[in-house]
């Protein structure tokens, strides 16, 4: 009887321990996640950046004490682009740039996560944009975590990086929009 209790205790401890160290999966909260971009407007003599955002973002990320077990998957609806000017939005969605009817999604899938400091990570992954997949490395900062006002546990990260649109097959109209596009991805996830 005593032996059985000991085994039960050990089993419970193992379950608790594994729960404590289990990787947590977070579902991206679209209402509190942002994908912003800015690109120099060459047609306006480069005097201004065009700022825009994608409003439809989905995905999840896994957080573990072991960075090797961490991962992130993000899918952005390319058609949700918004710069505040409908004509410009339609142009950016056309075959001139994103070609959303042919390439409706922009995705990022991590391959490797490394911790590089307190709340800072280096993430290497595949960015698929305009039908072209390129491996990129970005530095991500944890913005914060904790229970929100509804009692759900949330965690947020942010990164800013620059890509060349020509690397993703968007090589035309360089005399209108610059090749370099700065992206800011700020995501907040709700723990499942």
């Amino acid at each position: 009887m005593r032996r059985q209790t000991l085994w039960s205790l050990l089993a419970s401890l193992w379950v608790l321990a594994s729960l404590g160290f289990a990787a947590d999966t977070y579902e991206v909260d679209p209402a509190h996640s942002f994908v912003l971009f800015r690109c120099r407007n060459v047609a306006q003599a480069g005097a201004v950046f065009i700022h825009g955002r994608f409003t439809d973002i989905k995905g999840n990320f896994v957080v573990d004490k072991d960075p090797a077990k961490c991962s992130v998957n993000i899918t952005i609806n390319a058609d949700s682009l918004d710069t505040g000017v409908p004509d410009r939005d339609n142009h950016l969605k056309s075959p001139d740039f994103l070609n959303v009817k042919q390439f409706p999604t922009i995705t990022f899938t991590s391959r490797k996560v490394q911790a590089i400091g307190k709340d800072r990570y280096r993430i290497t992954g595949d960015l698929t944009l305009h039908g072209v997949t390129r491996t990129i490395t970005v530095t991500v900062t944890k913005v914060g975590e904790g229970k929100n006002f509804k009692g759900a546990y949330v965690m947020g990260f942010q990164t800013t990086f620059t890509i060349r649109r020509s690397d993703f097959g968007m090589k035309g109209l360089m005399n209108i929009a610059d090749d370099r596009v700065e992206l800011t991805i700020a995501i907040m996830g709700i723990r499942k």
Binding site: V85, D87, R88, N90, D96, F103
Partner: protein, 288 residues
């Protein structure tokens, strides 16, 4: 204005030069009584001239295209290659019809393949419908090119392509608009050439290349950008109005009358296409 002029010259002059050189080579072959070679070179002059402009406009000329607009130079080249078959003597009319039909259906299918908003059945229906129409337009244009050997045909095609370019700009795609502009430039070169070499015909592969480029730009505009489908149809069919000049009553008019009728009819038909685009989409606001 300088910005647009500079862009138009940078984009238009190289295809004009390449097409003109190609037509000179074709003319040289015709002088040596090599008629088949000459007709093939005419087709390649248009296709390669366009490819040069395509490279400048899009910054790429991929051998294996990943997006719909990049299929256009390859399709124009295939049409020019089919022109070799067209040039061979004693080919029954049935076979000409058959390969134009197959080419039309395959060309439209290839252009619609990457589209995500259409079901496979929808793509198949559009491919067959537009493919048959493309084959009919190619045949109609070829027939016209066989009869009309003055400069009115290339200038009518240049006008159509230029109006198409304007409609595509309204449909929010400057690059496909530029590609139609490149086609207008190659036809401009053909116009100058025919002014110099009277009775030069664009029969064969050249007509195939022009037809597939006109349809290709229309399909890209209508399915991947915002060009209304009726607008695209009017623009693709506009050059066929040249057949009006072949009416017996028109033939008896002043010699310049058939040419004027052809140009006015083509411009009007293309303008209806442009008008539909403006009505549905409004004029571009510009300056954003």
């Amino acid at each position: 204005m300088t910005f647009f002029l500079r862009s138009a010259l940078a984009l238009g002059l190289p295809p004009v030069a390449v097409t003109f050189v190609g037509l000179l080579l074709a003319w040289g072959a015709a002088k040596r009584e090599q008629r088949v070679v000459s007709r093939c070179l005419t087709g390649f002059a248009v296709a390669i001239g366009y490819a040069v402009g395509h490279r400048i406009a899009t910054g790429a000329l991929p051998f294996m295209p990943s997006s719909a607009e990049h299929w256009l130079p390859l399709l124009a080249l295939v049409a020019a290659l089919l022109g070799i078959l067209e040039s061979l003597p004693n080919i029954p009319r049935f076979w000409r019809w058959l390969w134009r039909l197959l080419f039309g259906i395959v060309a439209v299918a290839v252009l619609l393949l990457p589209l995500t908003s259409l079901s496979p059945m929808g793509k198949a229906i559009w491919s067959v419908g537009l493919g048959v129409l493309m084959a009919a337009v190619w045949t109609g244009m070829n027939g016209l090119a066989g009869r009309v050997t003055d400069a009115s045909l290339p200038i009518a095609l240049a006008i159509t392509a230029a109006v198409n370019s304007a409609a595509l700009l309204i449909a929010h795609t400057a690059i496909v608009s530029q590609l139609s502009g490149v086609l207008a430039a190659t036809m401009g070169a053909a116009f100058v050439f025919v002014l110099w070499q009277r009775r030069w015909s664009l029969l064969g592969g050249a007509m195939g290349a022009v037809t597939v480029l006109l349809f290709g730009a229309g399909i890209n505009g209508a399915f991947y950008a915002d060009l209304p489908i009726p607008s695209a149809l009017f623009l693709c069919l506009a050059p066929l109005t040249g057949w009006l000049r072949e009416h017996r009553s028109v033939q008896s008019w002043h010699p310049i009358a058939p040419i004027a009728l052809q140009l006015v009819a083509t411009t009007l038909f293309a303008a209806i296409g442009l008008g539909i685009a403006i009505r549905q989409l409004g004029l571009p606001t510009g300056g954003y």
